[in-house]
């Protein structure tokens, strides 16, 4: 501050120079997450030891975790396959956060989007894949977006808080999916349990690596994920709409004073967030499952909240967080197969990572040597 005052003569050129990110900011972005992961793994090991798992097995299970997430082509394929829906839905949540909306409803939006996608996927026989696949994805995005927009509209028109309304919409979506799956035109022929018809082959996201090994599940959804990250990054930081989202999220009063239409922004932000969650649902039915059944959302919509938080609501951060969670999911499976350690442990480790990321000060206290003296850094600001 005071430094700045001494150099006021600065020309426009100096003013347009971007300051390098401060060391504290870098530490928050890079060092804290790394330490958080490490601490979570250490505490996870402690949890295993506490439940009478011997040290050798703990070691084996972490080797299996690594192997199962990045140790082979199949492992990477599984990691990416799990990361795609998490990242897509996480982007939606992050977009909501940026616009000041705490959207708990990704799970429901994902279910509704997936249902629309599955219907589009088994209808329209005879379409070429190049038309059918985009149609399926569009149906998912549209349905998820409209479903989420309900919560946005409720907030804008009546002030009903989106946390409550999206939780309620989740509950509605569970039952709605149960009901839809039993309708004659959706339910698979010859089945009395709620399960949809399979999507047509032309509606499936193509598998990318079956030429290597038919078991590799990696599908074209991974491109969708990367495209979504790029588009949302552009939207948030390069466009007028993104500026409005971020302004409303940071300071809704100032945004209103600046003439931005709060209601419209809320509905749009929720709609877009829901579209991304719906896209995640469409990706699941058309890339992974090929059908819909009551539990096909598998909690992805809730994990996505953690992904968005971990990614600091930044699109690239969300991508990294999605990949980490995908790796934990794929590696966790291997951990169970090879070391016989319960899959629940992965849940514990994920939770611990979030706890430590959310509490950077705790991490700084635990690893004082990893950081510059916080006190000095602050005073120099």
């Amino acid at each position: 501050m005071n430094n700045a005052q001494e150099s006021t003569v600065g020309l426009s050129e100096a003013l347009l120079r971007r300051a390098a990110p401060s060391r504290a900011a870098l530490e928050d972005l890079v060092v804290v997450p790394i330490f958080a992961v490490v601490v979570a793994l250490v505490l996870g090991a402690a949890a295993m030891l506490a439940t009478n798992v011997d040290l050798a097995t703990v070691g084996r299970s972490y080797v299996a975790l690594l192997n199962g997430s990045v140790g082979s082509v199949n492992a990477i394929s599984e990691t990416l396959t799990a990361a795609v829906p998490l990242t897509l839905a996480g982007l939606g949540i992050a977009l909501g956060f940026r616009a000041g909306m705490f959207n708990i409803g990704a799970e429901g939006q994902l279910l509704i989007g997936g249902m629309a996608a599955v219907i589009a996927g088994f209808s329209f026989a005879g379409l070429p894949a190049i038309v059918h696949v985009p149609l399926v994805l569009l149906a998912g995005a549209l349905a998820g977006g409209l479903y989420a927009a309900i919560a946005g509209w409720l907030r804008a028109a009546t002030g009903a808080h989106e946390v409550i309304s999206t939780i309620m919409l989740n509950l509605i979506s569970y039952r709605l999916v149960d009901y839809l799956l039993r309708l004659d035109f959706i339910q698979r022929e010859g089945r009395s349990d709620p399960i949809s018809q399979s999507v047509l082959e032309s509606a499936e996201l193509p598998r990318l690596l079956i030429w290597l090994d038919p078991n590799l599940r990696l599908h074209a959804g991974v491109f969708l994920m990367i495209a979504a990250v790029i588009v949302i990054n552009w939207l948030l930081f390069k466009t007028r709409l993104g500026f409005e989202f971020r302004a409303s999220g940071e300071n809704p009063d100032a945004a209103r004073y600046a003439g931005m239409k709060a209601g419209l922004i809320i509905v749009l932000a929720m709609g877009l967030a829901g579209a991304l969650a719906g896209l995640a649902g469409a990706n699941q039915v058309s890339g992974v499952l090929g059908r819909a059944s009551p539990g096909f959302s598998a909690g992805i919509g809730f994990d996505a909240i953690a992904v968005a938080l971990l990614g600091r609501s930044h699109p690239w951060g969300v991508l990294l967080a999605g990949l980490l969670f995908g790796a934990l999911e794929a590696g966790g499976r291997q951990m169970q197969v090879e070391a016989g350690v319960s899959i629940d442990l992965i849940g514990i480790i994920q939770a611990l990572i979030i706890v430590f990321i959310a509490a950077p000060l705790l991490v700084r206290t635990l690893f004082p040597w990893g950081f510059r003296k916080a006190e000095r850094a602050e005073r120099e600001e």
Binding site: D193, P194, N215, R291, G295, I300, V337
Partner: protein, 340 residues
């Protein structure tokens, strides 16, 4: 001990070790459905079959729990790459995923509990159970035991491996009515319309309690929950009300044994001996007699059965016990059809 003897013994030990390590190279892998490996029900029973084979055949067993339906494909997939000699998937809900994996990996042996493919796949052996035969017997028993004249049942999901219990239960009770000119009714399932009472999950003990409470409120004094661990909630309710007011008929395993806390409320259980068939399948795979198709467990071959009455032994009248033996013989020789 002479030197040569020592050498011989050492050799024998080495050989035995070698043999045992060789034997344990055969690996049987199990994928559970979302109920988990410790569901006190069919996942656990099937796993017991693997453990039995581990004891008797010296194989190695592994399992992988599914946490969500989306895990089925991935879990089977990760085992396909994990050097399993046979992959055993448990449950109707894994039918699609198992088929997909079996078609993609024709060299890999699979066996699926509670499912069969038509036409059969050459590398998949389906294990299905004529549970209606055993359930018929418990329906007959329950009709003979009820004081209120009302029986109840409910299921997890409306799928064949569940409703087949309810069919047998219902028809057994009706057979009793026909024979004794009584008017015992069965709530919770109608075999004609294929509609009934379902919790739509295999997890919630709270649902098990609530559904049993509903049936009890409607007058039922014996209830058969066909929903895996959900039934444990019903048993907890029965334990509170007392077995005189409400008795439970268990399914899949002998719940008197697997749910010892509430053992006294179980009149009996319809046992589905998945452990026996799983061990059988592993043995076939080991000795090379494995063939794709169907393995049906029946009353006759012991694949299904009725558990002992345990604490209720005294309360079941002897004439009824005798009749049950006659009905059992009738079912086995085909003179009593269970499916009409």
């Amino acid at each position: 001990m002479p030197a040569y003897k020592t050498a011989f013994v050492s050799l024998a030990i080495v050989a035995a070790l070698a043999a045992s390590t060789h034997a344990s190279a055969f690996t049987a892998c199990q994928v559970t459905d979302t109920g988990g490996i410790d569901d006190n029900s069919f996942n656990q029973t099937a796993w017991k079959g693997v453990l039995d084979a581990q004891e008797s055949l010296g194989i190695e067993g592994r399992f992988l729990e599914s946490q969500a339906e989306t895990d089925y494909d991935a879990n089977i997939n990760s085992l396909v790459n994990g050097n399993c000699d046979i992959i055993i998937t448990v449950g109707f809900l894994l039918g699609d995923a198992t088929q997909k994996a079996a078609l993609a990996n024709p060299e890999q042996l699979f066996s699926i509990v509670d499912y069969a493919y038509d036409p059969p796949l050459p590398n998949v052996l389906g294990q299905v159970y004529a549970t209606d035969e055993a359930a018929f017997l418990t329906g007959y028993l329950a009709a003979g035991m009820t004081k209120t004249g009302v029986l109840g049942t409910f299921g997890g999901i409306n799928i064949p491996p569940v409703t087949i219990f309810m069919d047998g239960f219902y028809r057994g009770a009706m057979y009793y009515n026909a024979k004794h000119e009584t008017k015992v009714s069965v709530l919770g399932w109608n075999p004609e319309t294929r509609e009934g009472l379902f919790t739509n999950n295999f997890e919630s003990l709270d649902d098990g309690r609530a559904y049993a409470q509903n049936l009890y409120d409607e007058g039922a004094d014996i209830v058969m929950p066909v929903a895996g661990p959900v039934g444990l909630g019903s048993a907890a309710l029965a334990a509170e009300l007392g077995p005189d007011a409400l008795k439970i008929i268990g399914v899949d395993a002998d719940l008197y044994i697997t749910d010892p806390n509430n053992g006294r409320v179980y009149l009996t259980s319809v046992t589905k001996r998945m452990d026996a068939t799983v061990t059988e399948v592993i043995e076939r795979a080991m000795n090379g007699s494995f063939e794709g198709g169907v393995l049906v467990g029946t009353l006759e071959n012991g694949g299904v059965g009725v558990a002992p009455f345990h604490d209720m032994q005294a309360s079941v009248p002897d004439p009824l016990k005798a009749e049950l033996e006659q009905v059992r013989a009738g079912i086995i020789d085909g003179s009593i059809p269970v499916d009409e």
